[in-house]
């Protein structure tokens, strides 16, 4: 646990990628199994403890510390793990030896809900502030130490001088503590063999199109298709075993028994998971209802049946199609689909024909189906590659919508922005019999630079008119232009609307609040 804590601490303070890689590779080299395997799992978000959630940690700390003092401290520090670690009382007597990382993981996995607080409390008493911070971060998930899962895998690959793509290939067939992986990379065994029938294949992802980037691309080299507004899914179906993996390899199959039942045998298919409402494609909100139910009731399945709109085919039977060019895979996909036209749960995402970029842009603006959030551009000659390789796939999102709204409330941010007022609630004007009043329409906490953040923070501190716990109400005088992908009806919000992905596009220091938009402007943008 001590070595792991020290690794996390060094990672968080090391800005350079190379330094982080070196720190992690050195840790993996110097640490024994199974500790290093669990560390790798933690760094790749592969650990989940059912009974050690933030609320449980908070309750444990509050059993030792005055809750009011904890609340003030948390508001100041802005990070639960760090607040809890710092405020935990130092034991008066000499400490017992701290646990090994593997002991923590293995015992927490078996522990029942009622046993967790005592276990955790005893461990915290053996550790110093950094150790406590690492332990709480470990069990509460999401280390956020500035090292991505991919970087951690790259560091592991470096142990054996392998390319990270080789790790990706087997990764989803392995489980913590990854003994076979380390044995292979340290030269003590062969590459791990995985069960292809149930293994996730790393997905190919697209880059957003930068301004002006289109001018450097030749339309003849590309194929276009709609980017549907559902969730990207990989269907793996062999020998009666069926899995639906999300983009990160999480198995979401149990939430979609209807689609699993309808899935064809002997293939790996890349597509978009959507739901239907009658003859139409449901909105993302409709899909969200299905996603929220791990075991959906039959009535929900009947009302919002799931379907897969297919983009690509990776395996047909035992044949790995990934090395083939996109255009060739597309031909195989169309033939595969044509043989299954009777299957209502599967349909084909059509290609969009175009002569040049301008024609495509116009077509996208005028003929975009409601359920599409933009276009995908794919090179006709690209093989199917893991990750986000440069120069192959691009996403061309539709222009975001925007509105001028007034800042109403502010809260301190977390993580890198802790202690700054960086989470804002914005409102638009609703005109009623008593005149115009602001109603909150959404929260936005990104889209601005650090310099803007400092100015916004200063604005909040200088214009506070009221405090509700950690929330400050500010004088309604600052207008921001919010961008968002779409507007939906929402009975849960006072304004009756909800914004999808709102962000701050511009801070309008110049604009008087009275000139901000009315709620009607948002209502007019509702699309499903």
């Amino acid at each position: 646990m001590i070595a792991f804590a020290s690794l996390l601490e060094r990672l968080i303070f090391s800005p350079a990628r190379q330094t982080k890689l070196r720190l992690m590779t050195e840790y993996f080299r110097a640490t024994a199994d199974p500790d290093r395997g669990y560390a790798l799992a933690a760094l790749t978000d592969g650990l989940d403890f059912a009974h050690a959630k933030p609320a449980a940690i908070r309750a444990l700390v509050e059993s030792r510390v005055d809750p009011a003092l904890f609340a003030w401290s948390y508001d100041f520090v802005g990070d639960l793990a760090e607040t809890a670690a710092l405020i935990w009382p130092e034991p008066a007597s000499p400490r017992a030896p701290p646990p090994r990382l593997s002991e923590v993981v293995e015992r927490l996995r078996l522990a029942g809900r009622s046993e967790v607080p005592a276990l955790l409390g005893a461990w915290l008493d053996t550790l110093d502030a950094t150790g406590r911070w690492a332990l709480i971060k470990l069990i509460s998930g999401g280390l956020r130490v500035g090292a991505s899962a991919r970087l951690a895998k790259t560091a592991v690959a470096a142990l054996g001088g392998e390319d990270v793509a080789k790790i990706d290939e087997v990764w989803h067939g392995l489980a913590p503590p990854y003994a076979s992986l380390f044995a292979w990379l340290c030269g003590a065994g062969d590459a791990p063999r995985i069960d292809r029938r149930t293994a996730f294949l790393p997905m190919m992802l697209a880059h957003p199109l930068d301004d002006g980037e289109l001018d450097t691309l030749d339309p003849k080299d590309f194929r276009a298709e709609w980017k549907w507004d559902g969730i990207r899914i990989q269907l793996v179906s062999f020998d009666g075993e069926r899995r639906l993996f999300s983009r990160t390899g999480e198995d979401v199959g149990p939430a979609f028994p209807d689609l699993l039942a309808a899935a064809p045998e002997g293939c790996v298919i890349d597509g978009e998971l959507l739901v239907r409402t009658g003859d139409a494609i449901g909105s993302f909100n409709d899909l969200q209802q299905r996603l929220n139910r791990k075991r959906p009731p039959a009535s929900l399945v009947a009302a919002l049946p799931a379907m897969l709109r297919v983009y690509d085919i990776l395996f047909e039977g035992a044949e790995d199609l990934r090395p083939l060019p996109f255009a060739e895979r597309r031909g195989r996909l169309e033939r595969w689909h044509a043989a299954r036209l009777g299957n209502a749960a599967i349909d084909l995402s059509p290609l969009v024909a175009f002569a040049d970029w301008e024609a495509l842009a116009r077509h996208s603006a005028e003929a975009r189906p409601r359920a599409a959030e933009g276009l995908m551009l794919k090179r006709a000659d690209s093989p199917y590659l893991a990750g986000r390789p440069k120069g192959h796939w691009y996403k061309w999102k539709r222009a975001a919508r925007s509105v001028d709204a007034v800042m109403m409330y502010a809260q301190r941010g977390h993580g890198r922005r802790s202690s700054f007022y960086s989470d804002f609630t914005f409102g638009c004007w609703r005109v009623g019999p008593d005149g115009a009043a602001l109603v909150p329409v959404g929260k936005a906490y990104f889209g601005f630079s650090d310099a803007d953040l400092a100015r916004l923070d200063k604005f909040v501190r200088g214009h506070t008119v009221n405090r509700f716990g950690p929330v400050r109400e500010v004088e309604p005088s600052l207008v921001c232009e919010l961008e968002f992908d779409s507007v939906h009806r929402s009975p849960r919000h006072k304004s009756g609307v909800a914004l999808r992905f709102p962000r701050i596009a511009r801070i309008r220091w110049d604009k008087p609040a009275a000139e901000a938009d009315r709620l009607d402007a948002l209502v007019a943008m509702i699309d499903g």
Binding site: F13, S14, P15, D66, W72, S73, V77, L86, G415, S419
Partner: protein, 334 residues
């Protein structure tokens, strides 16, 4: 008479009415008592300023000879009476010359701590607890998450890093008055006898400390040092210089920062610090709360910092407590 009637906060600072004087006023006043030389406490332009000899010397060095109309030096422990108020200064342990103001009037004793700490500091006299009815405390680190570790341990971490990354110049951000000189003294205490290099902005006050009899060993201006000498060396600079162009001329600088705020990792990360050193000249939570018990005051007034938690703590320990909401004081090194 209730003490709150003869000493109270006003927009111009904490005011002692019978004596007609303000303590650490944020703007120019007729009669001021200055607890210590940090610029947010020691402002120029008062008609009359009273402080310890070292604090007056620091003000002279920072603000020039005419920083006040007249000055009055009062040594630690020496008592005077102004307008029926007995006043003396006792060490606060914050920086060289720092003092608590002990006031007695109408049978009541009020101690205004100024900024203070309880841990030993080789560059200044230790804090002296004085029993009182009302204790007016600072609250810079007034949250229980703040627990400053042993400063020598922190200095050893710096020395370990300088030994491990012997090719990198270790630039430590320090406040020019107090922290800078204390860090040098701590390095000497830890047995470090190589030269310590200074950014130009730290030179004058360091010279002043040496002139006051505080031994700091071999201290040199970084501007005169050959680049080769700076590899693995320790350079002290104002925090603002860490991210500045100035540090680029140093060989592969590794940025460290010595401040009580470094206890919070997210803070250190925000500032781009690679080696955070938790060294503070302010009392941490445990020193603050322990001091309340040591001085035995029935009432605690909190001047500036994170006052809510301290007020809550005092109240739950049977003390009367209030936040004065004085304006004009800055947080340490942030």
């Amino acid at each position: 008479m209730d003490a709150a009637r003869w000493i109270y906060p006003s927009p111009r600072g904490l005011y002692v009415e019978p004596a007609g004087l303000f303590i650490d006023p944020p703007g120019a006043v007729d009669r001021a008592v200055i607890t210590h030389g940090h610029s947010d406490h020691a402002r120029p332009g008062h008609a009359h300023a009273l402080a310890t000899p070292a604090t007056l010397a620091i003000m002279r060095a920072r603000l020039g000879g005419g920083f006040a109309g007249t000055t009055q030096a009062l040594a630690y422990g020496e008592a005077i009476r102004i307008g029926g108020v007995d006043l003396r200064l006792v060490p606060a342990g914050h920086i060289l010359g720092s003092a608590q103001v002990v006031l007695e009037h109408a049978g009541q004793r009020v101690v205004v701590s100024g900024d203070y700490k309880r841990v030993a500091d080789p560059t200044c006299a230790p804090f002296e607890p004085v029993g009182c009815d009302i204790f007016v405390t600072e609250a810079t680190f007034g949250l229980p998450v703040f627990r400053h570790p042993d400063p020598l341990g922190e200095v050893r971490r710096l020395l370990d890093s300088a030994a491990l990354f012997a090719e990198r110049c270790h630039v430590v951000g320090v406040y020019a008055l107090g922290k800078c000189q204390r860090l040098i003294a701590l390095l000497r205490q830890a047995g470090y006898d190589r030269p310590v290099y200074l950014h130009g902005a730290l030179q004058a006050l360091t010279d002043l400390y040496v002139g006051e009899g505080i031994a700091l060993g071999d201290v040199r201006p970084v501007a005169d040092a050959p680049r080769g000498d700076l590899m693995g060396a320790i350079v002290l600079a104002p925090p603002s210089a860490l991210a500045d162009r100035w540090s680029r001329r140093l060989p592969d600088p590794l940025s460290a920062l010595a401040s009580g705020w470094m206890r919070v990792k997210q803070r250190a990360k925000q500032r781009g610090v690679e080696l955070p050193l938790v060294i503070s000249d302010h009392a941490d939570w445990h020193e603050l709360t322990r001091t309340f018990a040591d001085v035995g005051a029935a009432e605690i007034w909190v001047t500036h910092g994170r006052e809510e938690a301290l007020v809550h703590h005092a109240a739950t320990h049977g003390l009367r407590a209030r936040a004065l909401a004085l304006v004009g004081y800055e947080d340490e090194g942030s």
